[in-house]
Symmetry: C2
Subunit: 141 residues, 2 copies
């Protein structure tokens, strides 16, 4: 109930470093100084009790634990962005309606099945990233 042991700011820095491949480039991307990233990254590793990067020459490579953490961080920040979009959609009066679909059901078949509940001026998007398709429309009803 209290997962505050994980500092999501540190996790963001770790994520940026992993994506950019080096602390220097991550610092540029985040408009931060190199030292800040390095320090906070050390904090995260100490907090998790596990090294996430291993020095390779004068560069860094992900450890096995680091690769595992990166997978989760990817999903977490993706969800964070989706959260903002979802809330913004509510502000603009649009609602999101997500429908799960088994891979065994062709898209067109699913579309035909959903036809009865679709309204005019609805935007329909097939989003394969999470095996879910999402449809938006201007108003709920």
């Amino acid at each position: 109930m209290t997962p505050d042991d994980l500092n999501f700011r540190h996790l963001l820095y770790f994520w940026a470093v992993a994506k950019e491949g080096s602390i220097t480039r991550a610092a540029e991307r985040l408009n931060l100084s190199v030292q800040t990233i390095s320090t906070q990254l050390g904090m995260l590793e100490q907090q998790l009790g596990q090294a996430l990067f291993a020095p390779q020459g004068r560069s860094l490579v992900l450890t096995e634990a680091g690769r595992a953490a990166l997978d989760y961080a990817d999903q977490i920040f993706l969800l964070g962005e989706r959260l903002r979009h979802a809330v913004a959609d509510h502000a603009s009066g649009r609602r999101r309606f997500a429908v799960g679909r088994s891979e065994a059901v062709p898209k067109l078949v699913a579309f035909r099945l959903l036809q009865p509940v679709l309204r005019r001026r609805c935007r329909c998007a097939w989003n394969a990233s999470k095996a879910m398709s999402s449809t938006r429309w201007p108003n709920w009803r």
Copy 2:
């Protein structure tokens, strides 16, 4: 690439309030003061440009945007906890190996298919929560 517009600490407080049903109980649960939660919650709403709770009597109820945000927050903090567990597993020498499986493939069939790569002393868990099954074992090799 820089989703730092979303403060995950604020999101945690929002999540706790939504789960507990009131700021007071959330403050007790998090060992924080009521004022802190209230302020930070206001920050989050201002940041998102949308109210997440609506005053109902002297209590609070989720708005529609709030319910949407809660769905995402649930997943985010669940992933955060899983991240910690995954990294902890690496520390104890255990590795997690996740296998995706179509619903059309029975579990026992999948198990038989995986038999050749399984080792002794492996723990096999069917985890339906994310449509994925995960298997752990003491060492990689």
